[in-house]
């Protein structure tokens, strides 16, 4: 039997969700509605009596104080249109799962019911059916994962209500393994690749075909019961393992680079020759003081925190799924990256999240190309996804930023990072490395496997196109993951497993495949894997990216204890097979072998790509616009730029304080609303040692030269960390490259230029991480951030996010960016040059320009070291990084965050080549800070900064006037700090 329970609010109780939905309908779609009321619907299938249904409705499913419910009839009344939105079959329904568990416990009947949830929106207003359609499809439902039904008031019969709909997955349960013939034409090979979303090239397919022809391979396969043809399981497994997403083919390719003078060089793997090389050299230079413990080999990087603890950090992107389903994509992004540090070494406890989003303007008002969601919808969905993922996991979101550029319309970038902490030793063994011994049992734990997330890895290795698969989209379940991580941390501390890794892209195929390299083989039985519903094919089980799962290697004698603990804590754990040293990735379905792949071929069989890059420096129009008459208005206009304005509304919706160790919070100052430069947290509550987390990102500079874009991103991340009290002594980096396709092809005729951009960014990464001694410990690339449908192609600007994690010895010495006391001296550290290219000031006037900011690492390093020392000696009252919008913005923020006025003279600023006040105020020269210092500390502070460029340019004043004298001495800005703050706070206050 199928029943429906509908729950709504009683008369007189505010329906906040309904009100919010009403506001969104107006803001997003420009449609006015008088009222929106929401009703939660539980569709219950199973053996349940009438009184039991009522017990469920009045018990766990409704709140007796504010809600009412009906069973098997309609609750809605007095509406003009009723829209019911529910999930499509197979989409994760977290609420449905919780309701099922609650009802089964209430009734004492395990397994008695299935519950599916949906939500009704009862709309009142002068609306036609087409308005209701638009509201449903344009806002309330994402048709990729949801279905909706619209009912007009005239067709409504409350006694009947809405007919129950069960989104059950019904598939013929007929597990079969197909054989694929690769002895076919190139055309056919290409077809096989695209039809199956394998993202393999014809050449790669041929390599596989040739491998299968080898005598020894054929012989081995025949012994295992396979034939000459490859199975679909093997094909899919190879496609995942060889995907750009997993294999980083472009970063490992052999590149011929030609510069503007026609000089050619060959680069054998950007990853090895730039990123890894710098880290290796930095570690060698540190010698016995090397604090890196595990770099590039695991799911995340590991550094030493102190003798007892290690820190772990990883940043990932989840761009493609977020383009299709912003909420689910971002939620999966954050809970997905959580599993990286969790599955690193022996596993770490998660202590912070970071998030950086790149969107088109939420106020975008031009027509949208097909399959592209409005940026406001992306903004809201991604924000909410990360909110639910982070908050519900109990991990503070401590740092992040928002970047806006028109070109992120084609693909938004959603960077999510997570840090962890692990004991350095467990039962005497170091925790930062992994070993597996043949004979160890393979156990999968956490969630179950479904069709969700199939082809995520290969899908994200292509541009967003018409055929982008719906199954790649999924919804994360933070609570299932929390239950699993609660369990695994206890199992870790009892030393019940030998190694752990997460199931992310590529599913079991990747997780077990990678673990098997540690011992030399494995044998698993896919039939044992727990499924969400019957009917999955073996290849689907192997590569499904269904969330919330970890894979483990458990010594046989600890298996029983491991499984018993899982059972006690109500977490599913299943033995899938054993690790071996056979050299074979051996997969069975029951007794039948469905994949038998040579480990070496699987992981090393793919030859390097050969690519060509050619650098031609772009020339942009040199702007010609006069200095503004009203510099105060100009400053306010700058403060209102999307890339500069306050992000407080987002920040506050993320829990940034859970775990109790917050020291420098995202919003600081006299009324807690100034923008912090970086985060400081105290992961061990009875110690004052802290972790500093920061980021740098400046994609606008890519329009001029990606070398300097990357240099500036690194410098920004480093100086943000320095600004709060971090130091170069122990600071690690994470690089996340998001590029548009840099491989020359019909679709990408400018591939050589884009690849040259990638080469240049990597060269900068080598140069600057070396110069600062900030080694990358892990990273990720996402290389296909393009949108191609029909005639429309949108490519993102090449974007590097550089994140840092460092140590501060004593958090009590940290500083914040807000001016502290009237009469404090205002200093500018660093030199200001005429570097307006790619600046917000030029962008405001519609120009790019050419003079991109350049980083002088030697000078910067000296300055950073001196500043760190001054902060350590408590000589600095406030310190603020100078970035987007230059000094004008940094000075204003310092003043209004502190609730103080300021009186400064531009003529005192150390500068070179600048003759215009506006350029001096808004140049984005790097490696600069605005610092305030108490007059009592003036001498000591200036002494400690000796040898670096700096100057005192004025002081803070009581009262709220912000006054700037121009180069020629006349007052050019005189504004109330409140009006500056208002300009800064207004744009994104939603």
């Amino acid at each position: 039997m199928v029943h429906r329970i509908e729950v709504g609010f009683r008369e007189g109780i505010r329906d906040v969700l309904g009100e919010k939905t009403g506001r969104k309908i107006t803001e997003h779609l420009g449609i006015d509605v008088t009222e929106v009321k929401t009703i939660d619907v539980y569709t219950i299938e199973g053996d349940i009596a009438g009184n039991e249904l009522a017990a469920a409705a009045s018990g766990p499913l409704s709140d007796p104080i504010i809600q009412k419910y009906v069973t098997d009839r309609g609750l809605a009344d007095g509406f003009d249109w009723l829209i019911e939105v529910g999930f499509r079959p197979g989409v994760t329904d977290n609420v449905g799962k919780t309701a099922r568990e609650a009802i089964e416990l209430l009734l004492g009947k395990p397994g008695a019911v299935d519950v599916y949830t949906s939500r009704q929106y009862a709309l009142k207003g002068d609306l036609g059916r087409s308005d209701a359609e638009l509201i449903a499809s344009g806002l309330l439902a994402n048709e990729l994962i949801q279905r909706y039904e619209i009912i007009g008031s005239e067709e409504w019969n409350p006694a009947q209500g809405v007919a129950p709909f069960i989104p059950r997955v019904i598939i013929n349960d007929d597990p079969t393994t197909e054989e694929i013939d690769l002895d076919v034409s190139d055309e056919e090979l290409q077809k096989i690749s695209s039809v199956r979303v394998l993202a393999l090239t014809v050449d790669e397919m041929k390599i596989i075909r040739d491998h299968l022809r080898e005598e020894s391979v054929l012989h081995g396969r025949q012994k295992a019961g396979l034939g000459e043809k490859i199975t679909d399981v093997e094909m899919e497994c190879l496609a995942q393992t060889w995907s750009e997403h997993c294999k980083h083919k472009i970063f490992n390719s052999l590149i011929t680079y030609e510069d503007q003078n026609g000089d050619r060089t060959t680069i054998d793997s950007l990853f090895s020759s730039c990123i890894k090389k710098a880290t290796k050299e930095i570690r060698e230079a540190l010698g016995k003081d090397d604090w890196c413990l595990s770099v590039f080999v695991d799911n995340a990087g590991i550094i030493r925190f102190n003798d007892d603890y290690n820190l772990v950090f990883k940043v990932e992107t989840h761009n493609s799924p977020s383009a299709l389903d912003p909420y689910g994509g971002a939620l999966t992004g954050i809970v997905g990256v959580n599993r990286d540090p969790f599955g690193t070494g022996k596993g770490s406890k998660l202590i912070f999240n970071t998030d950086v989003f790149c969107f088109a303007s939420p106020f975008h008002n031009k027509p949208l190309p097909p399959r592209i969601l409005h940026p406001r919808r992306i903004y809201d969905g991604v924000r909410e996804g990360v909110e639910h993922g982070g908050n519900k996991s109990g991990i503070p979101t401590v740092n992040g930023c928002l970047v806006f550029d028109e070109r992120y319309l084609g693909k938004p970038l959603v960077y999510c990072g997570t840090g962890g902490i692990m004991p350095a030793h467990i039962q005497g063994e170091a925790t930062h490395s992994k070993t597996i011994i043949p004979g160890d049992v393979i156990i999968m734990t956490g969630g179950r496997i479904g069709k969700d997330g199939i082809h995520g890895a290969t899908f994200s290795s292509e541009e967003l196109n018409e055929d982008s698969p719906v199954t790649a989209v999924q919804i994360g379940d933070p609570i299932t993951q929390k239950k699993m991580t609660d369990f695994l941390l206890i199992a870790r501390d009892k030393n019940l497993y030998r190694a752990i890794t997460d199931n992310g892209a590529g599913g079991l195929s990747s997780s077990i495949g990678e673990m098997a390299t540690l011992c030399g083989g494995c044998e698993i039985d896919l039939k044992k894997a727990p499924l969400k519903y019957a009917g999955l094919q073996p290849w689907e089980i192997l590569i499904s990216e269904a969330q919330e799962r970890m894979s483990l290697a458990v010594p046989p004698k600890k298996c029983k204890a491991f499984l018993a603990l899982a059972a006690k804590m109500n977490v599913e754990a299943t033995i899938l097979g054993t690790f071996t040293d056979s050299g074979i990735f051996h997969v069975r379905y029951g007794e039948k072998t469905v994949a038998y792949l040579d480990m070496e071929f699987l992981h090393e069989g793919l030859p390097k790509m050969r690519l060509n890059a050619r650098w031609t420096p772009p020339r942009h129009e040199e702007p010609a616009f006069p200095e503004p008459d009203e510099m105060g208005s100009a400053l306010k206009e700058m403060l209102s730029r999307l890339n500069i304005c306050s992000k407080e509304s987002i920040v506050r919706q993320y829990d940034h304080e859970v775990q109790g160790g917050g020291v420098v919070k995202p919003m600081v100052g006299v009324v807690n609303d100034g923008p912090s430069d970086a985060a400081v947290i105290r992961p061990i509550l009875d110690s004052f040692e802290g972790v500093v987390v920061s980021n740098g990102i400046c994609p606008r500079y890519s329009d001029i030269d990606t070398y300097h874009m990357a240099a500036c991103a690194i410098d920004e991340a480093v100086r943000n960390a320095i600004a709060v009290g971090g130091s170069l002594d122990r600071m690690a980096g994470i690089d996340n490259f998001c590029w548009c396709d840099p491989v020359e092809s019909e679709k990408t005729p400018d591939g050589r230029y884009k690849l040259a951009q990638l080469v240049r960014a990597n060269r900068a990464l080598y140069d600057y991480t070396m110069a600062y001694g900030v080694p990358c410990i892990s990273g990720k690339d996402s290389m296909k951030n393009d949108y191609i449908i029909g005639e429309t192609k949108i490519s993102i600007p090449p974007t590097l996010l550089f994140s840092t994690m460092g140590k501060i010895e004593d958090v009590r010495k940290a500083v914040t960016m807000d001016a502290k006391k009237p009469g404090d001296l205002v200093y500018i550290l660093g030199e200001t040059l005429e570097e307006m290219g790619g600046s917000e000031w030029f962008a405001l006037h519609g120009f790019i320009g050419n003079t991109v900011p350049k980083v002088n690492a030697q000078k910067a390093k000296k300055l950073y070291q001196a500043l760190s020392k001054a902060i350590d000696r408590r000589l600095v009252a406030s310190c603020h990084d100078c970035s987007d919008g230059g000094l004008g913005v940094a000075l204003a923020e310092t003043a209004f965050a502190g609730g103080l006025g300021m009186d400064v003279s531009l003529s005192l600023i150390p500068r070179e080549g600048i003759r215009r006040d506006d350029y001096l105020l808004f140049s984005e020269s790097q490696s600069r800070f605005v610092v305030t210092v108490s007059p009592d500390s003036q001498e000591e502070f200036e002494g400690s900064m000796a040898g670096s460029v700096f100057a005192c340019i004025g002081k803070t004043i009581s009262g709220g006037t912000f006054r700037i004298a121009g180069i020629h001495g006349e007052t050019i800005v005189e504004e109330a700090i409140d009006s500056l703050k208002e300009a800064w706070q207004k744009p994104l206050d939603f």
Binding site: V95, T98, A102, G394, K483, K568, G898
Partner: protein, 274 residues
């Protein structure tokens, strides 16, 4: 008089503030502080009876999927120990009747409210009379708030305090009572222990964001008639040291965070009572 105060901090199924709550109890002088996963209670390895002070920390029990702490409350009421006839709920009610202390914060407070442990007029710990629902803003928010302490309240935890500054971090913190008589009784019996207030802790406020959720009469936390059972939305365990304060770099603050006082009061009470 006991010197050995024993504290249990309950966790599992989405609770996430257990670590800092346990830390608060330790700093407050509890000799034993155990973070106990609910499965340890349900399999009989641990029993509530062995403790004096039960902490129900913040988090998202079962994701708050059915409304905050709804599924969690359902579990407490219906789950059996070792799948036998003994109910966890009985242990909880016995714990209260033994004169022991319970502190619920945020999701823990929501759990207590949905169970009917608060306000529990006339010692009825089983009937829900108030609820916590969605903030008027429609948002989850993390922000610090000023709380005025009701000096006439029987609340054990807030004794001797006038006001306290703490963060709220919730989406469902708005108190609604079943009817006006409930609200009136809350006032007359001084069970409203803390209210959102102005900076001077002088008057309760209804204006956003000082009152972050639109809670009726600015109620932030309530206790039972004995004052031993207390829940609040703001997080005292989030302010144990001055570096937790959002303005510590610009204000002179004592070494200990104000949130610690609540835990100290609890531990001191137990030391005297047991």
């Amino acid at each position: 008089m006991t010197k050995k105060v024993k504290t249990i901090v309950l966790t599992g199924n989405g609770t996430n503030c257990e670590m800092e709550m346990a830390h608060a109890c330790r700093l407050a002088g509890s000799a034993v502080v155990d973070i106990v996963h609910i499965s340890e209670l349900l399999c009989g390895e641990k029993r509530l009876d062995d403790y004096h002070f039960l902490n129900l920390p913040g988090g998202f029990l079962d994701g708050d999927d059915l409304g905050s702490a709804k599924a969690g409350a359902n579990r407490i009421v219906h789950a059996s120990i070792r799948r036998g006839s003994e109910k966890l709920y009985k242990q909880l009610i016995d714990f209260i009747h033994d004169g022991k202390l319970i502190l619920g914060v945020c999701n823990g407070f929501q759990l207590m409210i949905k169970l009917g442990l608060l306000p529990a007029f006339g010692g009825d710990y089983a009937t829900q009379t108030v609820t916590l629902t969605f903030n008027d803003s429609g948002r989850f928010e993390d922000r610090w708030v000023y709380l005025k302490v009701n000096e006439d309240s029987p609340c054990v935890f807030t004794k001797g305090m006038e006001g306290i500054y703490l963060p709220v971090r919730h989406g469902e913190g708005k108190i609604v009572t079943r009817d006006p008589t409930i609200l009136e009784r809350l006032h007359t019996s001084n069970q409203i222990a803390v209210q959102y207030s102005d900076k001077m802790y002088e008057k309760a406020v209804m204006d956003y964001p000082d009152n972050p959720n639109g809670s009726v009469d600015a109620i932030a936390g309530i206790c039972d008639e004995t004052g031993r059972i207390f829940g609040l939305m703001p997080h005292p365990e989030a302010y144990l040291h001055y570096t937790n304060h959002p303005r510590w770099t610009r204000e002179d603050l004592p070494e200990d965070g104000a949130g610690l006082s609540l835990f100290r009061n609890a531990v001191d009470f137990i030391k005297k009572a047991f």
